[in-house]
């Protein structure tokens, strides 16, 4: 098998997108399912573009992104220090790990009813749920990354009389940073899932998920639902793209593979 050139790959990818678009268009027009159920792709895309000029819709997207950013930021602020502590003090690690192992498998979406009872259906609920779900990938990546730091570098610093904290800040934290970044990238996707899921279930207020939920209830609302899905997908792609680009810029020394997504569970 010959390697494809970059340009060829680009053209093939474009062709694939066009084919997928054409297939959706054909299914929509052929009338396999009722047209109001599954409108053709061109109508959905036109609606999605139209929504780009809709003030109220954009405000909703803004509200979703605000909760996303707050939750993700909060989870990083909790998970990175905790991960550093767990990763560098084995006793704390084995003590806390058992609690962590019991909390993590709980599907975060299941917490929506409880947290809505506690906090109502506002931004706080969204932020709390996003934070809970996003802590795990960052936490596990931080601990994992600490385990992968170069022991020689640590020993060298120790031999020169640096204290424990200096070693942590000068060697271990920079060495772990690519892993933390990969964890944040996984969490960013998880946060979007939680934001949209919480909004769809709460059903009122403002946000991308609420737009989707309300369109889903309206008759012939599928076009709007799918337009909202297109927006959600584009948001996910853009966020992921920006984070990957940032990782490459910040950590050029790490081969892709090493940083490539460690331990993500939504």
């Amino acid at each position: 098998m010959k390697r494809l050139r970059r340009r060829q790959e680009l053209w093939l990818g474009l062709l694939g997108v066009l084919l997928a678009f054409g297939a959706c268009e054909a299914v929509g027009r052929a009338g396999v399912v009722r047209r109001s159920y599954l409108p053709p792709a061109s109508e959905v895309l036109a609606r999605a573009v139209e929504l780009g000029g809709d003030r109220a819709f954009l405000d909703g997207v803004g509200a979703t992104l605000k909760a996303w950013a707050l939750g993700l930021g909060l989870s990083v602020a909790i998970a990175v220090p905790l991960g550093l502590l767990l990763g560098s003090v084995p006793l704390v690690d084995s003590a806390v790990r058992v609690i962590v192992e019991f909390l993590r498998p709980l599907p975060s979406v299941a917490l929506i009813p409880l947290v809505s009872l506690l906090l109502g259906t506002g931004t706080e609920t969204k932020v709390a749920l996003i934070t809970y779900a996003c802590v795990w990938p960052v936490l596990f990546n931080t601990v994992y990354g600490l385990g992968e730091t170069d022991p020689l570098a640590k020993d060298t610093l120790r031999a020169f009389g640096f204290g424990r904290l200096s070693v942590l800040l000068r060697v271990e934290l920079p060495g772990t940073a690519p892993f933390i970044a990969a964890g944040i990238r996984i969490s960013a996707a998880v946060a979007l899932i939680l934001a949209v899921a919480t909004e769809i279930l709460s059903g009122f207020g403002e946000g991308l998920g609420i737009f989707i939920a309300q369109a889903g209830l309206a008759t012939d609302g599928t076009r709007d639902v799918l337009a909202g899905v297109v927006w959600a997908g584009v948001l996910g792609l853009v966020i992921n793209g920006v984070l990957v680009w940032g990782e490459r810029r910040l950590f050029p020394w790490t081969p892709e593979r090493r940083a490539g997504g460690r331990g993500g569970r939504p």
Partner: protein, 279 residues
């Protein structure tokens, strides 16, 4: 992005590490008991409706689901009515996602052309937060089991597909040459070469898919209009402000998630072998 799941556990666990872990088992147990006891004491002292003591939660879970007759493995009617449908939907959705994901992933990953053709579409499909699509399935299938299975399968298929494709793509070219020299037919090549070399990545994808399946199972049952399932128990208890049952359902889901994940890891260890589980 090469995004995939990867080992959650530490990569290198030599004999020394294993011995240390053995010594820590006691500590872990003590910590767990102390944590639960502290929670119990704190919850009793505060007597908050929102945070019932763990003893009561476990009691409620037992009373709701596991106090049935011996002949039915202690399962009550409520357990049969709520837990089994949820598990069935999840098994169906995850099964469909795993089979289609692996089959399509191998097909896409085998050829560079097919991979380049499909990659952008796949990346977009994966980037869509799955709950956003559930309303579409509600419209197409109406509420009920087909909608729920479709939501689970459609959300869980992408991580398996993408990881399988990348795993098959990463097959050692030297081995492919060997296969050509040995004149393996396509089926043999698939079975002896592509599948084994993609297996670690396939399992990385399956782990992600499993947790997505669990999330989508709960999410699709939380939607208004569902009639049964663990998620329904949750919303039903929420609407009656029955906090104890909400907590009991959370406990059940946590245990379920833990058991399912552990089972998948056990299968992975058997098939892939220790130390080969890399991203």
């Amino acid at each position: 992005m090469k995004g995939a799941a990867a080992p959650v556990r530490n990569a290198a666990r030599g004999p020394a590490a294993a011995g240390r872990a053995g010594g820590h088992v006691l500590l872990r147990l003590v910590v767990l008991v102390v944590a639960v006891a502290l929670w119990q004491v704190a919850a009793r002292a505060h007597a908050s409706v929102y945070f019932p003591p763990p003893g009561q939660i476990a009691g409620r879970a037992h009373e709701l689901w596991f106090s049935g007759p011996v002949g039915r493995l202690f399962l009550t009617d409520a357990a049969v009515a709520d837990i089994l449908p949820s598990l069935g939907r999840m098994a169906a959705g995850f099964g469909i996602a795993a089979v289609t994901g692996i089959a399509l992933g191998l097909a896409v990953g085998r050829s560079r052309w097919a991979y380049a053709l499909c990659n952008p579409v796949l990346q977009f499909a994966r980037a869509v937060p799955p709950p956003a699509l559930v309303p579409v399935f509600v419209v197409v299938f109406a509420l009920g089991t087909p909608m729920q299975v479709a939501s689970i399968a459609f959300s869980a298929v992408w991580p398996v597909l993408i990881n399988t494709a990348e795993g098959a793509r990463g097959t050692d070219p030297l081995r492919l040459d060997v296969a050509a020299v040995l004149r393996l037919n396509p089926v043999e090549r698939l079975w002896f070469l592509l599948l084994p070399s993609a297996l670690p990545r396939i399992f990385a994808g399956l782990r992600l898919s499993l947790s997505l399946s669990l999330i989508l199972m709960v999410f699709s049952e939380l939607l208004p209009g569902t009639a049964d399932g663990i998620g329904f128990t949750l919303t039903d208890a929420q609407s009656r402000s029955d906090l104890l049952t909400v907590w009991a359902a959370l406990l059940l889901l946590g245990v379920l998630g833990y058991v399912l994940n552990t089972a998948l890891l056990a299968v992975e260890r058997r098939l892939v072998g220790r130390g080969r589980t890399t991203a």
